[in-house]
Amino acid sequence: MDTLLQQIVNGFVQGSVYAMVALGYTMVYGILGLINFAHGEVVMVGAMVAMSVIHLLIGSGLPPLLVLLISLIISMVVCMALGYGIERIAYRPLRNAPRLAPLITAIGVSMVLQNLAMMFWGREYHAFPSLLPNNSHRLSGAIITEVQILIVLIALGMMGGLLLLMHRTRLGRAMRAVAENPSAAVLMGVNINGVIAITFMLGSALAAVAGIMISANYGIVHYYMGSILGLKAFTAAVLGGIGNMRGAMVGGLLLGLIESLGAGYIGDLSGGFFGSHYQDVFAFFVLISVLIFRPSGLLGERVAERA
């Protein structure tokens, strides 16, 4: 088996998911200058809701692909409402408060969502029902499943769509204008609160899809899955340059690759001392290195320009 190629494939799949979640962090940061630490929890809720919907529909005789589609849509809608609610309740009242305040409410919201999810879905691991045939393909030595191919394709499609939205539409222009100069955007007639709400909803919709992707890939969901994933996606956003959307995409893919290659070779490198379960170390190693050596990230040109 070709380890290198296999790790690259795995890293690319995982990186697509990171990229989708990282976009949510970066879009909100770009527009509000705030890290939405509850974002990882939105991913978890997306996965949980999808799981529940699939369980409800799975015996109904609907074709599996349709079940998947319905669960995807419901999960996206729920997450968009959740993202909207988080902004409305936890951030908007603190729009002009010192920066520490929304950071604290973000952590609070995160804890509330985790605990609600635990009460609702329990603290045990759940199997994420697999709806797609578990076929896999050989790619000159590496193995890639159809689910993984689908994950990468959907992620690329959604990210491409998002870039088109940002650069080719009136809404996208308004979002970029608000991110850059909110008071000038107001003078152009942009309803800032509306644009901010849409930003949260878009990010949350991506999070829902990412949640389903990662659950479908690993076949497992858990009420706690959002926190580590959120932290890694945040790392990806910082790596790419927080506030920069292309950066989030690049950072996500890169982090996926680093992690996967790291996990694949850490055993050899450390003479068997560390196993591949140490893969989480790499994300934080990356985070710390970026913060020390290049805080503006790979594609970011500015750090905290708005005081």
Partner: protein, 241 residues
């Protein structure tokens, strides 16, 4: 001027603005008639920017602001552009990471008539050929003068009725200032009313019909631009002679 006697487009009465405990505007009255070019002059910190921001709904204020016969009390700041009340802010407020074309399109954000937006865009490009050459350039890479042209063009893209300009001459070379003021006069000649804030009092009063002098949050003089230009007080305080 006769214009000031006709029913005003903008009528401001007893406008007050405070920043925390500091009263920046202490109750001022301003009128702008349709088609009129009114200058608001005053030294640093007099409250000129504060006045325009309050009129644009960016600052909470008390007093009466009537525009087109309506009170603006219940309008949010972002709704005013649809009423034709448009501010080009101090420092121009360009979107540096949007292209010139995208900036102009932001000016037409509230309009939905695609074909007439495109026509207006061509009109702006005729007015400022330099912008046409730089359509796809990021606005942040424009020179100060080009940015001012773009900010003016962007405001025109909204088809304003009352255009408020905050120090359009700031930071520009003399040649560019002449060009900008010529444009302002032309915009007014096409029927757009203008409320012009300037430190460069001489220039402002030369293009304006009427003027107000603002000092420490109060209007201390108001007259036709010609009389203000001739007034000894104004000459001493603002024209350096």
């Amino acid at each position: 001027m006769i214009a000031s006697k006709s029913s005003p487009l903008l009528q401001v009465r007893n406008l007050k603005v405070a920043y925390g405990g500091i009263q920046a505007l202490k109750g001022i009255d301003i009128d702008v008639a349709p088609g009129e070019l009114v200058a608001l002059i005053g030294s640093n910190g007099a409250g000129k920017t504060t006045t325009l921001k309050a009129l644009a709904g960016l600052l909470p204020s008390t007093g009466k602001i009537h525009y087109c016969g309506k009170s603006l009390q219940h309008y949010a700041a972002h709704q005013l552009i649809q009423e034709g009340l448009v501010l080009v802010p101090e420092g121009r407020g360009v979107f540096a990471r949007l292209t010139v074309k995208e900036n102009l399109l932001m000016g037409a954000y509230c309009r939905h008539d695609k074909s007439s937006i495109a026509q207006d865009m061509q009109h702006i490009y005729q007015l400022f050929p330099r912008l046409a050459e730089r359509q796809m350039q990021l606005a942040g890479t424009l020179s100060g003068g080009e940015q001012q042209m773009m900010a003016l063009g962007r405001a025109l893209m909204s088809r304003p009725k009352l255009l408020m300009l905050d120090e359009p001459s700031m930071g520009l070379a003399p040649m560019m200032v002449v060009k900008i003021f010529e444009t302002i006069r032309n915009i007014c000649a096409q029927g757009v009313s203008i409320l012009l804030v300037e430190q460069n009092a001489k220039l402002a009063l030369e293009v304006a019909h009427r003027g107000y002098v603002l000092e420490n949050g109060l209007i201390t003089l108001s007259d036709s631009a010609a009389s203000l230009l001739g007034s000894a007080v104004v000459r001493r305080a603002y024209l350096g002679s």
